[in-house]
Structure formats: C-alpha cells, structure tokens
C-alpha cells in the first residue's frame, strides 16, 4: 500500500520543514519513504512544495501524478494542487490564507485557520506544525514517540523551538477531534 502526500505553500511557511519531519516520522515507523522537495529559483515568498511517498514495501514508483493527501498553506497552493488530489483523497487548507471554497465533490476538504491559531500561540511560524497535527490525526497511526523524535532530530540546532512546535502539533491533532471527519 502506497500513500502519497503533497505539502505546499510559499517559501518561509515551513513547507519543507514539516515535509522532512513527516518523512522522518514514517522512517522511524519503519516505513519505506521518499521525500522530494520542489522549489523555484526564489526561496522566501516563492511557491514551494514537496512530495512524500510512503509504503510498507520497497518504494518503486517514485513520481506520482496525484496524492492521497494534500496540505495547502495558502491560496496559490490551494489553487494549484486541488486538481492533484486523488479521487477520495483529502485536502487540508489553511483558511487564514485561502478562501473556503469547495469545487470538487469527490474529495474531502478540511479547512482550518492555521495562521490565526499560530498567532494565538504567539508564533506565526508554527502554523505548519498545526497543519501537520491535523494530517496526523487523519492518518491516525503515527506514534507520538516518533513524532517527538522527528522534531528533536530536525530541530536539534534550535532546541527552544521543539516544545513550541510539539504544542502546535498537538493543537492541530486535537483541532478536528470534535469536528466531523470520517
């Protein structure tokens, strides 16, 4: 079973950071995983996305047309990647920076104001971790131990940010608990 993910946004939103963290979480869970970052010549402010493939078996198909799960952190990436969601797949959208609008009825939408929630936690930069928390909740099979390990690994030079990001992750994780999501 292969699951494909696209995480997208603009440079500076931490798209590649949560991409690497998610890939590390899968690796720590003994899954096969590939992680491909894609960005243009510009970094901050430019369009950024990454693709992650995860499987229980050796990963043979490296590039996929469509993804089971897409995270879009702004309007531009929402517009760009809505067509890349597989039928029956899910898109998680940052409604602080994108209009709530459902143009497809064959996929699931989750809208949450990640940027506003991050501002409430006094750090706009951790909106990405809230989004990752939401995704984890839907996936349902990631252990908190591996999540913690992955954050510790990626943020080993910025230790003060680990707890903040884990708080944000948990906020995301619990965000849709009471909301309907089947």
């Amino acid at each position: 079973m292969i699951k494909n993910f696209i995480i997208s946004g603009s440079g500076g939103q931490g798209v590649l950071s949560i991409g690497t963290i998610l890939a590390n979480i899968f690796m720590l869970g003994n899954k096969f995983v590939t992680y491909c970052p894609c960005y243009g010549a510009e970094m901050r402010g430019g369009a950024v996305h990454c693709e992650i493939n995860m499987s229980d078996d050796e990963l043979l198909t490296l590039q996929n047309e469509k993804a089971d799960f897409v995270i879009a952190l702004n309007q531009m990436s929402f517009d760009k990647f809505i067509s890349k969601v597989k039928e029956g797949g899910t898109i998680i959208v940052n409604s602080s920076m994108a209009k709530i609008e459902k143009t497809r009825n064959d996929i699931k939408y989750i809208f949450a104001p990640f940027t506003q929630e991050a501002i409430k936690l006094d750090n706009i930069k951790i909106a990405n971790s809230i989004a990752l928390g939401v995704l984890s909740k839907i996936l349902g099979n990631l252990t908190m131990e591996n999540v913690k390990k992955a954050y510790e690994k990626i943020l080993k030079d910025k230790k003060e940010l680990i707890q903040k990001n884990l708080d944000a992750y948990l906020l995301g994780y619990n965000y849709i608990q009471e909301k309907e999501y089947a």
């Binding site: 890939a23 096969f32 992680y35 491909c36 970052p37 043979l60 198909t61 490296l62």
Partner: protein, 356 residues
Amino acid sequence: MIEKSLLKGNIAIARAALNCGCSCYFGYPITPQTEIGEFLSLEMQKRNLAYVCAESEIGAINMALGAASSGQKVMASSSSCAVALMQETLSYAASDELPIVLVNVMRAGPGQGYIYPSQGDYNQATIGGGNGDYKTIVLSPSSVQECIELTYKSFYLAQKYRNPVILLVDGLLGQMAEPATITQNPYPDIDTSSWRLDGAKDRPSRNIHSLEPNQNKLNQHVLKLYQKYQQIEQSEPDWEEYLCDDAEIILTAFGTMARSAKAICNHFREQGIKMGVFRPITLYPFPYKRLRELSFKAKYIIDIEMNMGQMLKDVRLGVLSNSQISFIGKPVGDWLKKEEIINAIKNIIKEQYASI
C-alpha cells in the same frame, strides 16, 4: 546496527566520498548537483582537505587531473551540459591513466536544456565526447543507498584500474531523500606509490603525459589501455536481475527508471505474465553476456529510458536471440507514469498475450 537517516542522494554521495578518503574536491555549482559541493565546502575545510570551487567546469576537471597525478583521491561533480565541457580532460585522464571520480547528476539537454529530469547522458558517459580510443567506467545507482555504495566502488575502481570513473545519477535521485545507512567503505586502499608524482627525492624522476610523438610508442600505449579495458570488461560488469529466471518478457532500464520497471513487472506478474527486469549497474562495462543468456528465453525485450533510446543500442548489441526488441521512452520532464508504460507494453505484447 548503524541507524538509518533520511538522506538526499547528493548528500549521500558527498558523505560517502569523505568516508572513503576523498582528499580533493573540485567543482562549480550547477543544479541539480550543487548540494554535493555545498556540503563538501564545509566538511572538507573542517578536515583540512582540499576543496576548490573553480572558476569554471573546465578549471575544475583540470584541477582534478593535476591532483590525481599526485596520487590524491579526487572527486569532481557537475551536471550534463557542464560535464560536456569536461570531455577533453576525461580523454587526457584516460590516456594519462589517472583515477578521477566524476559525478554527473543529470539534467535535460541537448545544449543548455534545463533542470528538468532526463537520462540523456548515457551516451556522453559510456561513449564519451573526448578524442581517441579511450573508455570511462560508468556506474549507475537506483537508490540513495546505492549512491553511497557506488561512490565507494567508483573510488575503488578508479584507483584499481587507474582510469576515470563516472557516477551517472538521475537528477531525481540527487534531489530526493530516502532512508539510507552510511555504511563502511568495503574496498581496500590501492597503493599508488609506483606511479604518482610526489617528489623525486631518492628515486628516478617520472612524468605523466599523453603527448607521444613516437608512433610505435603511442600504438603500444593504446594497446596497453585496451588490455586494461578488456580486463575491466571481463571482471567488472555488474547488474541486478529481478524475476528474470523464467521471464518471457524482460524490461531493461537503468537508474531510477529500473524502480518503475520493477513496479510494472509486479503489475504484470499479478496477471500471470512472466516478466522480469534487467538493470545494468555498470553501464560501461555493459553486462552484455548476462543479458544475452537471459534473452534466449525471452520473447520480448523492452527497453525503458528517460531519453530517446541511448542504452537501447547496448541492449541490441547484447541480445543475439530472436527476441523482439522494443523501446519505450520520453526525452525530458516528469518520469514516465506507470500507466503510460503499462499501456505501451500491452501494445507491444498484444499479439502473443491477447488475454490482457
């Protein structure tokens, strides 16, 4: 057990190079291989090793030639259109019998092309663009783990045969990260003291040059090189076989395309079709002999590449049976999709396999 980490192909190559004693690196930035130089610029300085970001690719490869003649373990890295600039020096290094490891993380051509994915440098690597009768050993990894293992092997073969080795890497693999283990270098160090130029104190002087105005000597020199190539062709062909033993259809592919080929092979196997994948790991020396053996059982040989059929001619040279040889490919851009390849294969085999 050594822990796995999530590694980019480029970083894996750079780390493996350091691990097996690469003492000099020369390069010039070009996407999609820049991380190799970026990583080494920090790490080699820490270790007091030679790192030069040269003024151009021509400068870089000639610095590599100079450093290699002093017996250093040398690596240079670049990409397609810039490796084209290095061809003259590769011919010199082959004639001078100098061990240089050159990493080519491919982008799309011809000419300037762009940073899109492509496997368009098979010919450039295996045939070469330099003048004269010479050969370059070419290794092709298909995973990040293999980037590490084949970097070790590149240094070993370069020194063992005193010949340039090209590590030919798909752009996708250079940029992609997957779990890999930095293993130990399994190869022994080769003694270079009999030929390197390290000062002639207490010994007769030596020189390394490719200029040879005496036609008999030049003739002898090329014949000697070809004896070496013959030995390489006998001892070094390396390949991977996937479900080939009973295969009636054999897919041939190199690099990451071989991974897609395996996925496709699994798809057809599930439908009861005896398919296998043959992946050359050494592109020179190409594993002709093994492909020839396998081809006698195969009705179809289908070559899949991200170019217009460059390895195809080696496949044709290898296959002496009556198998039908076909090609599926695309020159530039997103890797051929699984469905596209499956449909193309169905089209090729429909006469014999009407049921699918």
